[in-house]
Symmetry: C2
Subunit: 638 residues, 2 copies
């Protein structure tokens, strides 16, 4: 029995081993406490009030005497003893931004948990088991490792003749001492891989946590979710731009950089691992852990990102016949691909389907369980590329079309990501061309993000400012439509109302870029449907994943012909399904295995050849489309 | 079909791929050519005469013009083209010492080959297979790795659904380029391990060799045999003192050093790997290869040496209940234990039986096939420790007794290893005490080695210079027996006849040390026999392995009571059976697997407790023994 910690005012209790810090105990209950110094006892931000019970605590000179007298302790320094304690976490010690995140985390955690419930065992590839052994004697003189293996087999219910338990050299080198120091009662972190089980780490008793990271390596952004593999909770999340961005906006420019520059491949690999390592560092430090506590990483990324991370040239992804180096890649030690976790931590990648349909899409397919439905699902991940999977329990096909970075703000005069000050919604009064914009966090507008661009395009069309070919009209009664430096442009926000030193405009060139982007995606959808001889009416649900998250306006997306004109009820948003799928695979070895199967099951359709993609693309270069019969609900605009 | 190279005057021919150097071709035929510069074309020692055919050769400025005009080329620089050539290897280009070694190599190779024939497939764990693939197309767009896996499965006759082929990250990182450069025709080096097969290296075409090293890590000496894994030949051998020696003579002092000194473990590990790496370097360079050509190492050592090499503390080997950290250890990458071979090279260790019966003994048991005989065999490895295995196809027991370093020259006033100038044979005329000695290579005597010590002891006893308790007698008519500084001593070689600046003597203290050593071994044999309730008469053959090699005089060893008094015909020598067993395991994965089984089958008898070892030891402290009935043939001395 472990001592209990009761956290107030939430009134949540948790049992933790003696020696655990109050900080960790609180974190386990889901309450985020500030720990700017990383639990070093120097910043003084993590103080909590001890309401009952006593704790083992070092000197808290960081804490003022009056606070100490009132019962406050530094939660990172105060260790639980063998008795129950009750603590109050004051508002001042709580991480504010985290509380916002916490709600999101909770929602996402529920989503992940729900999927897990649909048939996966909560049994991560890497997990910790406690093994109690009989000490050796002159008579029972089996070697330490044999003894440990035997104990593990009993705990894991493996047959005694099983020979599949291996040991990492790091664990082997400390084994003798740890077994004896711990009095033959140890916590063993194991990785259960396909062909063998590896002992990654052996610790005395059952101290310490076992953490995993789910990583989405996007071309533009990298996202890391930190998961406690014992409690199955998402305990932190971090995201940042992929530092590879400085070497090119999209996968093609990265591929060129890595192939043409002498150390290009190494530079790009390091840029990605630096980004991810910093995210992991931030994620663990914020909740009082160390990177060495992380024993597993699950990585989902597109094929180019994954190959770059693995240090494998993506050169041939770009050259006909577009062959990736690997689809399924065996687990590696995380350090082999530059990730700084526990020295023997395992890294696994989602499988790639083809050069332009990667592990991120497989992760999305896993998370959305489209391979388990009777009904037909169309899964679309809209980012720099539009990647799609269509299918049900009987078949799965996929394709990719290059939408370009327009929806992510790239190649658009005032384009930006959906961060503070980005215009995310646009309405234009058709009578007087007055514009109302909404921005992320209500800040002064500084640019326009993907959802704002779709809104703008739809509004410009509806107001008659552009025609169906995207050409700006002349002679309109507004000074917003004017000749710009390069082409005609429409002013969305005047300089004086904006957060920058210029008017925020959308140009005719921007409109053309957006047209190309939406045409590529719609043409992809059409071509794929044709190739499996199905119609959009056959599709029961359309799942939208990717950078747009939940911000895409379906109605307006249909209006501009980006998405098919079907009942909006059939659309659902799934956000970043790549990292969610990675969480799933991290929490369940079953789910990971299924992802590997999925990678094989999904058939890739190459749009570059032998189909109608180019015709479809040209037809889709109108608003909403050349064939208005495809857009009955938007028909009135014709 | 590969072009043929005919080597004269031996008239041996070999087929090698175009591009192979004449040096390598000659080496493959077993003819050792000098290549002091390591095949760099700078030392000029490797010249051969081209008798017919032509070769591709760079500029040979190292070679004088008149030699070039006569048709001489540098064999390391001259590459075989697509035609047959005949070359003459002049005496001056041949490695002299190697010709001596070659005879030994040939004999050992035959021994290894003979054992291989007795039921093992010549199929090393690591081997190279050629795989020809169809190039990909837009239609056949499988990933490179999947394509290679499929090709490998066909070559290896694995079922298509087999999922056990993994790939090293090094091979993965160069895969795309090499497949395309080689026009999809590659040589794949694979390691077939228990639970999976790993692609270690992929090379274009079928160039390059695949080498392995069999390593005997002895407490005193390290030995490396270099083996060509395609031709199954031992192509070089090297041996040297283990540089750990400076930290202690025997395993116990090494264990203490590694446990007591702060960086002791690391120091000892580095000392051993430095020794081995230098030996490997020498072995490959001499025959014109590189260390990167070596893809597998098989290591046989006693338990302490193996743990030290693996970086695992041997501390508990010495502390009751004497538990080693591991018996069977999974294969590791050679670099993980500090060996500098190919980056992805595999290192495997022989299993340990117990703390004092290690992988070297298992290797010996494997090599001598004692587990396959109906008849009872006693295998004795005499070194610093005396380790023994007794058994047949039904049972195997083992034990170890600490003989101390006396037989290896340690703790003996003028003791030395069996190198140049070591007295290896001693005769004493019982009438006038004249001494005749023979030394290694007939050089002037500088010391006395193990076999010389046994001879001396036997001769001193026979001449009546010592009594059965090893005490020097007084009043003998010779000035050779005298009072020394510490104790009485007997002069074996006078200073003026010796190769040093003093008389070479054997002291009473030396005699006592030898008595202790021989008593320990004989007591071990007796105790083990008693514990399995057998008699020495039941033993059909006694195999002597270890440092003594073939130099031990059986008759005299029986006379002093070191070895049991049975028919000398029943004794055989096997030399360094540890490295020979390692060769076997290197050449055949079957043999390695059998060694792993053997490690489990051999039961260890702990002499430290619950038996009659101490009584036996005291009884054996006489020459030959207290119980003369045990030595009928030596009975007349009583």
């Amino acid at each position: 029995m472990c001592p209990k910690v009761l956290v107030q005012p939430e009134n949540i209790s948790v049992e933790v081993p003696a020696g655990t810090s109050l900080l960790k105990a609180a974190v386990i209950t889901g309450i985020d406490i500030k720990a700017n110094c990383g639990g070093e006892g120097t910043c003084g931000r993590c103080m909590v009030k001890l309401e009952s019970g006593s704790v083992a605590s070092g000197e808290s000179r960081t804490l003022k005497k009056n606070l100490r007298d009132e019962g406050y302790v530094l939660s990172c320094q105060a260790k639980v003893k063998d008795e129950e304690v009750s603590i109050l976490v004051p508002e001042s010690s709580r991480v504010k931004t985290h509380r916002v995140l916490s709600a999101q985390a909770k929602r996402e955690e529920e989503m992940v948990a729900n999927v897990l419930l649909q048939g996966y065992q909560r049994q991560p590839i890497c997990r910790k088991v406690r093994v109690k052994l009989e000490p050796p004697s002159l008579v029972e003189n089996t070697a330490d490792l044999s003894r440990l293996r035997l104990g593990l087999k009993k705990v894991l219910n493996l047959p005694l003749e099983d020979e599949s338990i291996r040991v990492s050299i790091t664990a082997l080198r400390t084994l003798a001492e740890i077994l004896r120091e711990s009095n033959w009662d140890v916590a063993v972190t194991i990785a259960i891989l396909d062909s063998f089980t590896e002992i990654i780490r052996v610790e005395p008793g059952h101290i310490g946590v076992t953490l995993g990271v789910a990583i989405d390596v996007g071309t533009t952004s990298n996202v890391v979710y930190l998961i406690d593999l014992s409690t199955f909770r998402i305990i932190n999340r971090q995201g940042d731009y992929n530092r590879q961005c400085r070497y090119g906006d999209d996968v093609i420019s990265r591929i060129i950089y890595s192939s043409v520059e002498k150390t290009g491949l190494k530079t790009l690999q390091k840029a990605a691992t630096d980004t991810i390592n910093d995210l992991i560092d931030k994620a663990v430090t914020e909740v009082g852990y160390k990177r060495e506590d992380v024993v597993q990483a699950v990585i989902a990324g597109n094929t180019t990102m994954t190959q770059l991370l693995w240090g494998v040239t993506p050169k041939y992804i770009r050259l006909e016949p577009y062959i990736p180096t690997f689809q399924v890649v065996p687990p590696v030690k995380a350090r082999q691909i530059g990730l700084k976790l526990h020295h023997e931590a395992i890294a696994v990648s989602f499988p790639q389907v083809a050069s332009y349909v990667g592990g991120d899409i497989v992760a999305g397919a896993l998370f959305t369980r489209i391979a388990y439905e009777d009904d037909l699902t169309l899964f679309i991940d809209i980012g720099t590329n539009g990647e799609m999977v269509l299918g049900n329990k009987d078949f799965l096909v996929s394709c990719a079309c290059s939408a370009g970075p327009a929806f992510e703000g790239g190649g658009i005069t005032f384009g930006m990501r959906a961060t503070t000050g980005a215009i995310e919604s646009v309405t234009i009064d058709p009578k007087n061309f007055d514009v109302i914009v909404e921005t992320v966090r209500g800040a002064k507008a500084v640019g326009i993000c993907g959802s704002g661009l779709i809104d703008a395009l739809s509004a410009l069309l509806e107001a008659g400012a552009i025609d169906r070919a995207g050409v700006f009209q002349t002679g309109l009664a507004t000074n917003r439509l004017r000749e710009g430096d390069e082409s005609r442009e429409f002013v969305l926000v005047w300089q004086e109302e904006s957060g920058r030193d210029s008017d925020i405009v959308i140009t005719e060139a921007d409109v053309k870029n957006l047209l190309r982007a939406k045409a590529a995606i719609f043409a992809g959808i059409r071509t794929m449907l044709q190739m499996v001889e199905m119609k959009i009416e056959d599709v029961s649900r359309i799942i939208i994943a990717g950078g747009f998250g939940n911000y895409l306006n379906i109605e307006k997306s249909i209006k501009i012909g980006l998405l098919p004109d079907i009942d909006q009820e059939r659309y659902t948003f799934v956000g970043n399904s790549s990292v969610k799928g990675a969480c799933l695979a991290l929490l369940s070895a079953d789910a990971y295995r299924e992802a590997v199967d999925l990678g094989q099951k999904i058939t890739y359709i190459e749009l570059a050849t032998g189909n109608s993609f180019m015709d479809e693309y040209i037809s889709a270069m109108f608003l909403p489309h050349t064939d208005l019969d495809l857009f009955p609900s938007a028909g009135h605009q014709a």
